[in-house]
Amino acid sequence: MSARRYLISESILFRKTKEEFGGLSNMAAGYSLFVNEVIIPTSEHLYQACRFPDYPNIQWDIINEKSPMKAKWIGRANIKLTRSDWDQNVFKIMQWALEVKLSQNWKTFSSLLLSTGDKNIVELTPQPKIWGAVKDGDYCEGFNALGRLLMYLRETYVKPNIYNHCVSPIDIPNFKFLGIPIGVICDERENTFTADSLPREFVFA
């Protein structure tokens, strides 16, 4: 995966959750998720919890922590217990968490993504990080993995108005949350759904 340069004038930058496009941040409140019968405050909480499939107690602490930043710190404090294949699967896990976020907050999150138009979506980070990009004059430069995943969701689901009713789990070993394997996550508002989810293409295979 290579770094990219984004012209700021052609991009939507997001950083702080309270700013105009702050909802794009994993830390943004207002986009709760529901996995294994538990309401999870943000996609950041879910992403961090996914580090520790063998430690439901740590996962529980993470999702019960109101602040996503503090949830992240809990993750950091237990980093030695991260699943051994985390680095190989981190982007798949993030993509899956964002798909769940979109599916379960379709009305609000899709309209936010739609409002970015055709512009690049870039997470602004002060330091070079895999998930975002740093400002460099008229440009931002970095891997911007989060921004690219969001753009993928926008192009694949939001613009064609394809509502992903059911989100399939990712095919990695030991994909568990609170001791239970994560299965297909469906919108259960209507009993007429089928458990079929849309085929998935990983942005970062």
Binding site: A29, N36, W60, L178, D187, R189
Partner: protein, 376 residues
């Protein structure tokens, strides 16, 4: 005289001193059960007597009867039956607590700002509980629920006996929230703004059901509704399938089951036009709960749950046309690929059909312990 030995506890599987007291006296146990369940459907002329209990338990295999009835008594002694007197006490206590919580100096002022909603159809529990509360207030204070809401209707109180799967509460509450008031604002908007406070007052609440209500309200309305409603319950059934450290104070058979149970679960999706979910929650981990605080022992938990399940399966096998939500451990959402909710909580007024069917099924050669109204 053989004495059963509980290997787990390393002592006799009876709660008495083996040197001074005899083994379980079935008659005494049955009498104790009748004493606890004394007023079940009394208003309907129903009589809970020795004969009834004995007839019911004699439907179980001989080798299991003594254990089953003893364990059932053990569970009943943990407050899982609310008689009418207790119900009156709880209703009064709850509104006094609400008054204090919202900083009213007297009950009358709280009631003047409260709206006890009646959102259910006639014959359902809500109206009956409201009538009971009205009677309690008249007897104790000389005023009635008619005094409510004379100053404002800020505190909206939804009273019910049980929140099981959450379906009824969700339907009632979401229906109420969509209603528009005279000022053009919906009740939902008023809740979000804080102009109204919605309190759900229950005798019994299932933790899983509560989460379902919250999530469904969020899906139907908006994220802002999360954590806006106040849920209060005298007795909480911790049945959430993945939350950490749940007490599991209900009937939840474990994964060590004969093939017929797996076959039953696997056959559930047949003839259904919709998908089924939650198969992974159908049976509990044999090591759960982490600490046994409800049944008399871990071993007895398994034995009791398995008896409820097996007898329930036998009953259902005799039924020609099953409804999609009928399961051995009680009624459940039809799309759940599980054995039923397994509620172990009863009130004098009626038994929830989310309890295992051995308690209330009145057909196919089975005599229930509890008679039901409008159910099953």
């Amino acid at each position: 005289m053989w004495i059963k030995f509980d290997c787990e506890k390393g002592k006799p599987a009876v709660s008495r001193d083996i040197f001074t007291q005899p083994l379980a006296d079935m008659d005494k146990v049955i009498q104790d059960i009748c004493d606890i369940l004394h007023d079940y459907h009394k208003y309907n002329g129903f009589k809970f007597n020795h004969e009834r209990v004995e007839k019911w338990v004699n439907q179980f295999e001989l080798k299991d009867r003594e254990f089953f009835i003893e364990e059932f008594l053990h569970l009943l002694k943990q407050g899982i039956y609310v008689d009418e007197m207790k119900a009156r006490e709880l209703l009064l206590k709850s509104i006094m607590e609400l008054g204090r919580r919202f900083k009213f100096t007297n009950l009358s002022d709280f009631l003047a700002n409260a709206d006890f909603v009646n959102l259910q159809d006639e014959g359902n529990s809500q109206l009956i509980l409201l009538e009971l509360l009205d009677d309690v207030l008249k007897n104790k204070y000389g005023f009635s629920l008619a005094r409510c809401g004379t100053k404002s209707k800020k505190y909206v109180v939804y009273v019910d006996d049980i929140l099981a799967t959450g379906g009824t509460v969700f339907d009632d509450v979401s229906g109420w929230m969509k209603k528009t008031e005279k000022d053009g604002e919906t009740n939902y908007e008023k809740i979000i703004k804080g102009d109204k406070v919605f309190i759900i007052e229950l005798f019994c609440m299932h933790t899983w059901g509560k989460v379902n209500v919250e999530w469904r309200l969020k899906s139907k309305f908006d994220e802002k509704i999360l954590n806006k409603l106040i849920y209060r319950a005298y007795y909480v059934i911790e049945n959430h399938p993945s939350k950490y450290g749940q007490k599991l104070n209900f009937a939840y058979p474990d994964k060590n089951q004969p093939q017929i149970v797996a076959d039953y679960l696997d056959e559930l999706p047949e003839k259904r036009t919709y998908g089924m979910t939650k198969r992974e929650y159908a049976l509990r981990n044999p090591n759960a709960p982490t600490e046994e605080k409800f049944y008399s022992s871990r071993t007895n938990r398994k034995k009791f749950e398995d008896l409820l399940l097996m007898e329930g399966l036998k009953i259902l096998k005799r039924v020609e046309e099953l409804k999609p939500n009928q399961r051995p451990m009680g009624i459940i959402n039809p799309s759940y690929q599980t054995l039923g909710l397994g509620t172990l909580f009863f009130t004098w007024r009626n038994i929830s059909n989310t309890t295992p069917i051995v308690f209330w099924w009145n057909n196919n050669g089975w005599t229930p312990l509890f008679e039901l109204i409008n159910r099953g």
